[in-house]
């Protein structure tokens, strides 16, 4: 009987010890998971998806590749450059979230910047403010201006000319002389500057926190480490409940014995 009680006490103590050491061991991870979870739950309010890391160490850790400069157009003193799926007016990233590249060219019409994508014509101010977009039901090949400074699109369904306020397109009149937009070579200095800007606009704080939350930030080992931690936290929770139940049972028993004794 004594042996059985001692064995039970030993098991209880072992469980208590294990619970304690797992609790201490997973303390920092648990705190980090809670903090990062809280941050990720409020990504929009904290604008974590719109803030980007400029830390060179992190960029190296993520192994950000060199940007692919596809096309560029020189517009007076400004440069419009397409890098991967982004468009930069000088160093400003133009908001293109609803539209799909490829970028086919751009022209200046008075104080308007007109950009041709495959199915859309986008209008921006020279300061990069978004004005409007016109969807074209044809594949745009290139754009240009005619002798009257009217916008002309060369599409797979023929040549289209816009009205004055750029809301409608009709077939081009015959024999119109068109100055088609040309693509240019990007100067090396601008290329280097844009490479840096582009690389610094890829890894959002949300991505970093999410990867740190899952352990992925340090590769596969980090994920396994977080898996192990998750298992330990499950054990911690279960052992906590078992200890609580054992104590409750023990309390009831002693209460029952006391009652019996004094009855």
């Amino acid at each position: 009987m004594k042996k059985l009680v001692r064995r039970r006490i030993n098991k209880h103590l072992l469980l208590l010890k294990a619970h304690r050491y797992i609790g201490l061991g997973s303390f920092f991870v648990l705190v980090w998971l809670s903090i990062s979870g809280l941050l990720l739950n409020h990504t929009e309010i904290l604008k974590l998806d719109k803030r980007f890391s400029h830390n060179s160490l992190l960029l190296t850790l993520y192994n950000i590749p060199e940007p692919q400069f596809s096309k560029a157009v020189k517009l007076n003193q400004s440069w419009l450059v397409a890098i991967d799926n982004k468009l930069y007016l000088n160093k400003l990233n133009l908001p293109l979230s609803h539209y799909n590249l490829p970028f086919l060219g751009a022209v200046l019409k008075q104080d308007l910047l007109l950009i041709a994508l495959q199915h859309d014509l986008l209008m921006f101010t020279l300061q990069g403010e978004y004005i409007d977009a016109i969807h074209i039901d044809a594949n745009i090949k290139k754009l240009g201006l005619d002798s009257n400074q009217q916008l002309v699109l060369n599409t797979d369904q023929g040549c289209l000319i816009s009205n004055e306020i750029l809301t409608n397109f009709s077939a081009c009149p015959a024999l119109s002389t068109i100055d088609w937009a040309q693509l240019d070579q990007i100067p090396n200095a601008l290329k280097q500057q844009l490479s840096l800007i582009y690389q610094e606009s890829i890894i959002s704080l949300e991505r970093i926190i999410l990867d740190a939350h899952s352990g992925r930030i340090v590769g596969a080992l980090g994920v396994y480490f977080m898996d192990a931690m998750a298992i330990l936290i499950i054990i911690l929770a279960i052992s906590g409940v078992i200890i609580w139940l054992l104590r409750k049972v023990k309390k009831r028993r002693s209460h029952f014995h006391l009652k019996k004794k004094y009855r």
């Binding site: 929009e44 209008m123 403010e129 978004y130 004005i131 409007d132 306020i165 809301t167 409608n168």
Partner: protein
């Protein structure tokens, strides 16, 4: 335990249902315009620039500047139709608003809803509240709009869109007359 299981299943089911609700296009812009003008041949779009005073008022109405500087609208015999985009919580809600010659709202229809919650605003029981509503002097609506529990941000977005459409309709009248 049984109740807990039923509750967890309901929560999971609602979660998947809310995912299914995301990014729905109910009616195309072209079809809405055809419905609004009750004809197949549509009037050519006109444009209004959201600049200076207009930009200031629109910013006051929405609580932020409109995402584009130029807006297309369609007009025929004093009736105007506006297709506006406004963010509910995170994504744009595209709404068609028709305003009649008396500057009253004739129709409000949600054309596309991209949020995962608050899609109840697309229903007629909500949008019909806007019919015959006019603008007060301070760009507010002249009648109260009842909200929907759990769709406050979408309701606010639709209210802001209707206020903006009524204001812009008035602007097009004053500039053309």
């Amino acid at each position: 335990m049984k109740r807990l299981l039923i509750f967890s299943h309901i929560v999971l089911f609602s979660f998947f249902l809310s995912l299914l609700q995301a990014e729905e296009i109910y009616i195309s812009q072209e079809n809405y315009l055809k419905k609004a003008f009750a004809q197949d041949i549509l009037p050519k779009p006109s444009v209004i620039w959201i600049k200076s005073d207009i930009k200031k008022t629109v910013t006051e109405i929405l609580g932020h500047p409109y995402h584009q500087l130029r807006l297309k609208y369609w007009e025929k015999a004093g009736k105007t139709v506006w297709i506006l985009n406004e963010i509910g919580k995170e994504k744009y809600i595209t709404t068609g608003i028709t305003i009649n010659t008396q500057a009253q709202i004739e129709d409000v229809t949600v054309l596309a809803f991209r949020e995962s919650r608050g899609w109840e605003v697309k229903h007629d029981f909500f949008t019909q509240q806007f019919i015959n509503i006019m603008k007060q002097n301070d760009t507010q609506l002249n009648q109260q709009i009842d909200g929907i529990t759990g769709a406050t941000l979408s309701v606010n977005a639709l209210k802001a869109q209707t206020r903006m459409a009524l204001y812009l309709h008035e602007k097009t009248r004053t500039s053309s007359h």
